[in-house]
């Protein structure tokens, strides 16, 4: 019984990690990347707790009752507490960066933000940009395809 429950937890933890990492790598929206990061960190923390878990033991807190009861390993739990705090701090910082990026560049799309950053860096350094920032000359011969984009902002 405990092994199958344990297996579910393991698969859940690894699954959370995978979902989170996939989210970070595959998203284009900055906020989604932060959320995915939160999920991934949750998965990693869960994995760490599972590393020290014993299925028939109690929480590692001295309650004054007679000893001899098996307790789960407190060391990973302490580590996870630290990791959660670190994660919270990093996520808060990430969110504040997202807010600032939206303020400065007006976009929450990773590719657009990256392009704006490269253009600013090139301008500041006096480097001629590697691609032209101008629109093509003349009129489009064929109308542009309609872009269904839920991340906000039409590009053409």
């Amino acid at each position: 019984m405990s092994t199958s429950v344990g297996l579910v937890f393991f698969i859940g933890a690894i699954g959370l990690c995978v979902i989170g990492i996939a989210g970070i790598v595959l998203s284009r929206h900055l906020f989604r990347m932060v959320l995915a990061l939160a999920i991934a960190e949750a998965g990693a923390n869960l994995l760490l707790i599972l590393a020290g878990y014993r299925w028939d033991a109690v929480a590692p807190i001295f309650t004054g009752t007679a000893g001899g009861q098996a307790m789960v390993d407190p060391v990973p739990q302490a580590m996870v507490l630290t990791a959660i705090v670190i994660g919270v701090g990093v996520q808060a910082l990430a969110l504040s960066l997202v807010i600032r990026i939206k303020e400065r560049y007006g976009t929450l799309d990773m590719q657009e933000a990256r392009q704006c950053m490269q253009d600013d860096l090139d301008d500041a350094g006096g480097v001629t940009p590697s691609r032209s920032r101008e629109r093509p000359a003349g009129e489009r011969p064929i109308p542009a395809p309609t872009v269904l984009n839920s991340t906000g902002g039409q590009h053409d």
């Binding site: 990690c17 989170g20 990492i21 970070i24 790598v25 900055l30 990347m33 990061l37 991934a40 960190e41 998965g43 990693a44 923390n45 994995l47 760490l48 599972l50 590393a51 020290g52 390993d73 060391v75 990973p76 580590m79 630290t82 990791a83 670190i86 701090g89 990093v90 910082l93 990430a94 960066l97 997202v98 600032r100 990026i101 400065r104 560049y105 933000a113 990256r114 704006c116 950053m117 490269q118 600013d120 860096l121 500041a124 350094g125 006096g126 480097v127 001629t128």
Partner: protein, 485 residues
């Protein structure tokens, strides 16, 4: 004996106290707190060095290992720990604009956590200090709030956080298999970690700690960040923080995973780093990104050096790492005012003779002109590689040599541009006195090292001997020779 932990605690304390000095009576105290604390740390570490005889361990909170947190002090740890406050002092952000307190606070945080990384003997403690350094560096990257810096900081944060998640999973795997995270204890159990899961855990740890060390697959952030931040911060990150991250990986390698496969992993990552870094730098058109890619290449050489087995690897690695610390920090200091396209710096030598001359000196040392220390570091690395007949190591040797040729091409292109006749239309900025002083200090260190190669080498032999002595490490930490509080 507890003095050494003060070197970690004092900068952290200073970091938290500094924001209090923004207003009110303590305002005049603000600018000097940081340098004073760093100087105090340097003195503490100097005192520890002069009193130092054999490696010892400090158990924090009197919790005996393997239960508690230990600090392990040997030559290697002291060398890197001493480098932290000294380099931070030279690269101290001394501006007095309104955001200065925040910047100085973050720098102290970085310094404290890097010292902790050098001294720590427990894997989770390493993780915590590493994350602390990472968060401090995110803040430093944002710096004075230029728009590209926000995007660069976010991208850096994403890679670093992803790396940390992967690293945490690696730590979880190690805990699953061995039930302990104390490095000495893990060292006794290293045989258990030689199976697929263990080696996968090592790979994950390399990804996790390799972000700061600019290791190959996770170094995409480097050119953007070094291009977007102020160059003194870039000097701190590229020169100092990366070395400490490498130190952490090397400690784990030597103590916990001393197998051929793990060394081969470092070798391959090093070769890829050298190749990608030097090739990308060849097409760089502005100074900061050129230095960023060059730094990736040099850190690849550091990885290759540390992948050599035994004493030779540690000596070669420490030499290359220390040389790069000095040279790259100085180059970034010189790039502080010259962070623009290379063509627009035509004739920079006439605006700042000393700056251009120092740039030439550091370039020659990077290229390995004897008798500068850069030559000796290359000699040690390549000598160790040539001593084996394995094709991968000969490939590494060829890559490093080819990388040097490419490095010569792009560095000399810059030097020639500096010494060309200036364009009448373009005004090349001169160097700030503070940066020139810092770069001059680094040049002094370089030239002193060039003259004192022999005593340095003898010291390094002893350092390497003690660093690879895993039995001694275990005995010191777990056995009867520790010095608790």
């Amino acid at each position: 004996m507890t003095d050494v932990s003060l070197a970690v605690v004092l900068p952290l304390l200073g970091a938290f106290v500094l924001p209090l000095t923004r207003h009110g009576i303590l305002r005049s105290l603000g600018p000097v707190i940081g340098p004073i604390l760093l100087a105090a740390c340097a003195l503490i570490l100097f005192a520890a060095w002069s009193a130092y005889d054999v490696p010892y361990a400090v158990a924090l909170g009197s919790f005996a290992p393997p239960m508690g947190i230990t600090f392990y002090i040997d030559d290697l740890a002291l060398l890197f720990a001493l480098a932290v406050p000294l380099t931070t002092l030279v690269l101290w952000p001394g501006e007095s604009d309104p955001a200065a307190t925040g910047r100085q606070s973050l720098t102290l945080l970085l310094a404290g956590s890097l010292t902790g990384l050098a001294l720590s003997g427990d894997l989770f403690n390493v993780y915590v200090f590493y994350e602390l350094a990472a968060v401090a560096s995110y803040g430093l990257v944002v710096g004075d709030g230029r728009s590209p810096a926000y995007v660069a900081a976010f991208r850096y944060l994403m890679i670093s956080a992803l790396g940390s998640v992967v690293g945490l999973i690696g730590i979880a795997i190690i805990y699953f298999k061995t039930g302990t995270l104390n490095l000495a204890d893990l060292s006794t159990l290293s045989g258990e970690l030689a199976d697929p899961q263990g080696l996968a855990a090592f790979a994950m740890l390399v990804i996790g700690f390799g972000v700061k060390a600019e290791a190959f697959p996770v170094n995409g952030w480097v050119p953007e960040v070094y291009g977007a931040v102020g160059k003194r911060v870039a000097a701190l990150l590229a020169g100092l923080a990366s070395k400490l991250a490498v130190l952490v990986i090397v400690r784990i390698l030597i103590l916990v995973f001393p197998h051929d496969e793990t060394r081969q992993l470092l070798l391959v990552l090093g070769i890829l780093g050298v190749a990608v870094g030097e090739l990308a730098a060849w097409q760089a058109r502005d100074i900061p990104r050129m230095l960023a890619w060059s730094s990736i290449g040099q850190l690849g050489v550091v990885f290759v050096a540390f992948s050599l087995p035994g004493k030779a690897g540690v000596i070669a690695g420490v030499t290359v790492a220390m040389h790069h610390l000095v040279v790259k920090s100085a180059l970034f200091l010189l790039a502080d005012r010259w962070d623009r396209a290379i063509e627009s710096l035509k004739g920079a030598a006439s605006t700042s003779r000393i700056g251009a001359a120092l740039f030439v000196l550091f370039s020659l040392s990077l290229l390995g002109l004897p008798p500068l220390p850069g030559f000796w570091s290359k000699f040690l690395v390549l000598g160790g590689l040539a001593a084996s007949a394995s094709p991968l190591q000969l490939l590494a040797m060829g890559t490093i040599l080819a990388g040097t040729v490419i490095e010569g091409a792009y560095l000399l292109r810059v030097v020639v541009t500096f010494y060309a006749r200036p364009d009448a239309a373009v005004r090349v900025p001169g160097q700030r006195a503070g940066n020139l002083l810092g770069a001059g200090l680094f040049a002094l260190v370089l030239l002193t090292a060039a003259v004192m190669i022999n005593p340095l080498w003898q010291g390094l032999e002893v350092l390497a001997e003690r660093a690879v002595d895993t039995n001694g490490y275990q005995h010191t930490v777990l056995g009867d020779r520790e010095a608790g509080r």
